[in-house]
């Protein structure tokens, strides 16, 4: 029997404590935006560092937990996938917080912004590490409510309120269905621990699993439950969209696997379901992204498509019992997080300095904001899966695993996957072309080059360097996913 270890609860404590402490400090000392950004980044960094012993434990094969030592009453329990997402979220948190040091400087309500960021990630971590359905639900709500508020953060614009409201309504319905599912499970088994120990699910538990899958499906934007996503990502501040797209909606996907498998759904069935739904996600996401004129909505649809790729890989792994395919899926999750965050943050720079929202308005970005154009183009090329960037490596692993499955469904899936990655070029490339097309000549000569604040430049450059580094030398990252 392993001892209960406080390490599991530490990141969560740091983030929630940080959120409260930061708010109080900001009120008392009248801190400025940049101070808050630096402090928030510090909190995220400390949380990231506090994960190191946990990683060591999990890699040694243990399942560290926090709470009472009797089985079934642990409060938090760490697993590999959850830890991976936690680490990605904290790492991106540092980048996003620093970036906000300049990005949010024109908003009046920055004091609430940073605690909300911390709560968002804290909720996500709690949800991923929760060892029973009750805590899972609680943290899921914490995460969702922070997300609703952050999406509608620029409340002076109608569109942000509309998007936030849509997200709120759909998200709440999702969590309500989850709650119903939890009630069903409790009715049959009388307990809420994950994983449940007793054997085959009865009708109530099966209904409960279905409800939980639908509820988490809404949160992960699985087609046809994705309708809130383009609005939410399109209207939220870019820094928030980056976090939402990179980790939040992916965390519920991972949670879906954990919950469904923990409640006794056979892996092959879940795999088949994920596989079939992934085709919808890819095709619909890419197809609709093709016709978008609004850059952030385009990125949002691309997120739906990329969720489809991740589901595809996870589905292959579950259905054909290929652990390497699961790893490939997690690896794509990691690379997608880095690439999509870079894309959203670069887009944010364009919006901040040049007030661009439409794809056509991105013309001439390379002249005005060369750095943002470069990182944007890198991230888009990465998402399109062009070697030697990070996206290509993940695609390569998924393809190899998919062929290892050697089944007609996997081959059909492979064909759909490849057609989709071709289809996706149809919107990634024109966007890159737009970035590097000179702006139409206006009166007053060529547009001047604008210097980017280092608060934005440093996180962007770091993330862009990561895209190349992971692509050229994926070894250590791959080991990390394992």
């Amino acid at each position: 029997m392993i001892e209960s270890t406080v390490w599991v609860a530490l990141p969560l404590t740091i983030l929630t404590g940080g959120a409260f402490g930061l708010y109080v400090l900001a009120r008392l000392l009248r801190l400025r935006n940049t101070h808050l950004a630096a402090l928030t980044a510090g909190v995220f960094a400390v949380a990231l560092l506090s994960l190191t012993p946990l990683f060591a434990l999990v890699r040694a094969g243990a399942a560290p937990f926090f709470g009472a030592p009797t089985p079934g009453s642990a409060f938090l329990q760490a697993d590999a996938a959850g830890l991976l997402l936690t680490a990605i979220a904290c790492g991106l948190g540092v980048a996003v917080a620093l970036y906000s040091g300049h990005y949010i400087s024109l908003d009046q309500r920055f004091i609430t912004y940073y605690p909300l960021l911390l709560m968002l990630i804290a909720g996500m971590i709690g949800m991923l590490l929760a060892a029973d359905l009750f805590n899972l639900y609680l943290f899921c709500e914490l995460m969702s409510i922070s997300a609703y508020v952050l999406v509608a953060f620029r409340r002076h614009t109608d569109t942000a309120i509309e998007a936030g409201f849509k997200y709120l309504v759909m998200g709440s319905v999702g969590t309500l269905i989850m709650l119903l599912g939890i009630a069903f499970v409790y009715r049959e088994t009388g307990q809420l621990t994950l994983p449940l120990e007793n054997g085959i699910p009865g009708p109530w538990r099966r209904a409960g699993i279905a409800c939980l899958l639908v509820g988490l499906g809404v949160k992960s934007a699985i087609v046809p439950l994705h309708t809130w996503l383009p609005d939410a990502y399109g209207r939220a501040p870019s820094s928030v969209s980056a976090l939402l797209a990179a980790v939040i909606s992916k965390s519920t996907l991972i949670l879906m696997l954990k919950v469904a498998l923990g409640l006794g759904l056979p892996a092959a069935t879940l795999g088949l379901g994920l596989l079939l739904l992934s085709f919808l996600n890819m095709t619909l996401g890419n197809g609709l992204a093709l016709v978008q004129t609004h850059t952030k909505r385009l990125l949002a649809y691309s997120s739906i498509a990329q969720t489809g790729y991740i589901m595809f890989s996870l589905g292959i792994g579950l259905r054909y019992e290929l652990p390497a395919a699961l790893q490939a899926g997690l690896f794509l999750l990691l690379t997608h997080a880095v690439m999509k965050a870079t894309a959203f943050l670069s887009k944010g720079v364009c919006h901040f300095y040049c007030n661009t929202t439409l794809v056509t308005e991105l013309r001439g970005t390379a002249q005005q904001l060369p750095l943002a154009a470069l990182t944007f183009a890198l991230s888009l090329a990465g998402l399109a899966g062009i070697p030697p960037l990070a996206g290509f490596v993940s695609k390569w692993f998924i393809l190899t695993e998919c062929l290892r499955a050697a089944d007609w469904l996997a081959y059909v899936g492979l064909a759909i996957f490849l057609l989709n990655s071709l289809l996706a070029l149809g919107y990634y490339l024109p966007l890159i072309v737009q970035l590097f097309t000179p702006a139409p000549a206006r009166t007053g000569g060529a547009p001047a080059r604008i210097g980017i604040s280092p608060w934005m430049a440093v996180p962007l450059l770091t993330l862009a360097a990561l895209i190349i580094a992971i692509g050229l030398y994926p070894g250590p990252w791959l080991a990390w996913v394992r």
């Binding site: 070697p387 290509f392 390569w396 062929l403 490849l418 024109p430 030398y473 994926p474 791959l478």
Partner: protein
């Protein structure tokens, strides 16, 4: 052996580091960028030539470093006789294109980036030929696409360059994906992504899978070769690209598709396995030959005429490969080398004509032979070269290809391809004749020509003549290459 490793790394490293240096210090080197880039390309070429003695001594020049052990991926480089013709061609063409750019390219603040991208394009091509591992191969394979696409996008002529770059990228990337699936199917069967394992032959595929893999490879590489009907990207890309890029695309990049077919289907599968694909390859080759030649006759833009001639010439090569005979394959390899030189020469001449007159439509040109006699002589030699006039090289290679055709059961196809070569003579002579002979149309002004462009053109003409008169070393390379193909039975 250590020397060989150094040389292998120099082939890639010299242009790569030069490109990096140009980008990093671009403010300081804007004026001297052309010289620096040429030095990088020359160093790469020198390294290639320095590997020749080792190859003759049958020393294996290979390098394998750990890269991604988790997935069994190595960083492997390897030079053998199959690589050599392509590697030399690519290195020579790159040097020529860069020297030509000295005159063609107007120096401005972005010049270092232009040369850096040309070098990256070259790294992509030489990397493709010397990569000894699937993952690395594919990265280089796409690098050449990306670098050339950016060159077209930023430095191309006309307003449509964005759309053209997009079309070029999507077409070729679709082909690349087919190649990628083929590679990964092989990887799944052999469990290693090293070509050394493929060469060793200690593996077997299910018969259905063999057909699938060969089909994927041939289709994928045919896109790069611009075989009808997947040639659609070529005329636009060649026309819009700046002339040095066009030279590299037409003279070197197209033959990377040939390299792919030789390296994958033809060297890892046996003749029996490939036999079902012989006739389709020959027929596709003939269709490309005839279609490319007819379109070259029909086009008005001088650059498009030469571009369509590439479709036609790649058709001959595919026909030669499809014969699966000793003569056909030697002919195809020689054709790659000769076509590279001739096509580079023709594009260089067209670049000079366009630069001097500012006109591109063939109907608006004429009588230039009097005002630019040297260029006219070069053009005439180029036209005779592509028409297959002895003793210029293409005569030899086409002869071999046709004779390969007559060694197969498909005599009818061989007769068709023989006669379709008449079309080449017509369009080549018409092209040069209408530009350089006759009365100049009204208002045609001939501007001054940059020395660098003219001198490079003359140098390439001389090279063409030398190659034609002294083909023995090239034959020797092709003979050695045959031992690596189809189990060495040819």
């Amino acid at each position: 052996m250590a020397i060989n490793h150094m040389l292998l790394l120099t082939i890639l490293g010299a242009p790569l580091l030069t490109a990096l240096g140009l980008v990093v210090f671009q403010k300081k080197v804007a004026r001297s960028a052309g010289w620096i880039a040429a030095a990088g390309a020359a160093l790469s070429l020198a390294a290639v030539l320095a590997l020749l003695p080792a190859l003759r001594r049958d020393e294996i020049s290979a390098l394998a470093l750990r890269w991604i052990p988790e997935a069994g991926i190595e960083f492997g480089l390897h030079v053998d006789w199959l690589t050599l013709p392509f590697l030399v061609t690519e290195a020579v063409v790159t040097l020529v294109a860069i020297l030509y750019s000295w005159g063609y390219h107007q120096v401005d603040a972005r010049t270092p980036n232009f040369y850096a991208l040309l070098l990256l394009f070259a790294v992509g091509m030489s990397g493709t030929t010397i990569a000894d591992d699937m993952f690395l191969f594919y990265i280089f394979w796409e690098l050449m696409l990306i670098a050339s696409c950016v060159l077209i996008l930023v430095w191309g002529d006309g307003e449509r360059r964005g759309a053209v770059a997009l079309k070029y990228f999507i077409f070729t990337h679709a082909g690349s994906l087919m190649v990628l699936v083929g590679l990964i199917l092989l990887y799944g069967e052999t469990g290693s992504d090293s070509f050394a394992v493929l060469r060793a032959g200690q593996w077997a595929l299910a018969p259905g899978l063999v057909t699938a893999v060969i089909t994927l490879f041939i289709l994928g590489f045919c896109v790069k070769m611009a075989i009808f009907p997947v040639h659609l990207w070529l005329p636009d890309a060649h026309t819009v690209a700046p002339m040095p890029v066009t030279i590299m695309l037409a003279a070197a990049m197209l033959s990377m598709g040939v390299y792919g077919i030789l390296r994958f289907p033809m060297s890892i599968f046996s003749a029996e396995q490939l036999l079902p694909f012989a006739a389709p390859m020959m027929i596709a080759g003939i269709i490309s030959e005839v279609y490319g030649a007819l379109m070259a006759l029909a086009e008005q833009d001088v650059k498009r005429i030469v571009a369509y001639s590439s479709v036609s010439q790649m058709g001959y090569i595919l026909f030669g490969l499809g014969t699966l005979t000793r003569e056909g394959v030697i002919g195809a390899t020689l054709h790659v080398i000769y076509h590279a030189i001739v096509k580079a020469l023709l594009f260089m001449v067209m670049g000079l004509v366009i630069r001097a007159t500012g006109r591109r439509r063939i109907g608006e040109l004429g009588g230039l032979g009097r005002s630019m006699p040297v260029v006219a002589v070069c053009a005439a030699i180029g036209a005779l070269g592509i028409a297959g006039m002895p003793p210029l090289g293409i005569f030899t290679s086409e002869w071999m290809i046709f004779s390969g055709g007559f060694h197969t059961a498909h005599i009818g196809l061989s007769i068709v391809t023989l006669f379709s070569s008449l079309l080449t003579v017509i369009y080549a002579l018409l092209l040069v004749g209408r530009i350089f002979v006759g009365a100049p149309p009204e208002g045609l002004k001939v501007g001054p020509l940059p020395k660098a462009m003219v001198l490079t053109t003359i140098a390439v003409t001389v090279l063409l003549i030398i190659e034609g008169l002294w083909p023995a070393p090239l034959f020797d390379w092709a003979e050695h290459e045959l031992l690596l193909l189809l189990g060495g039975i040819l």
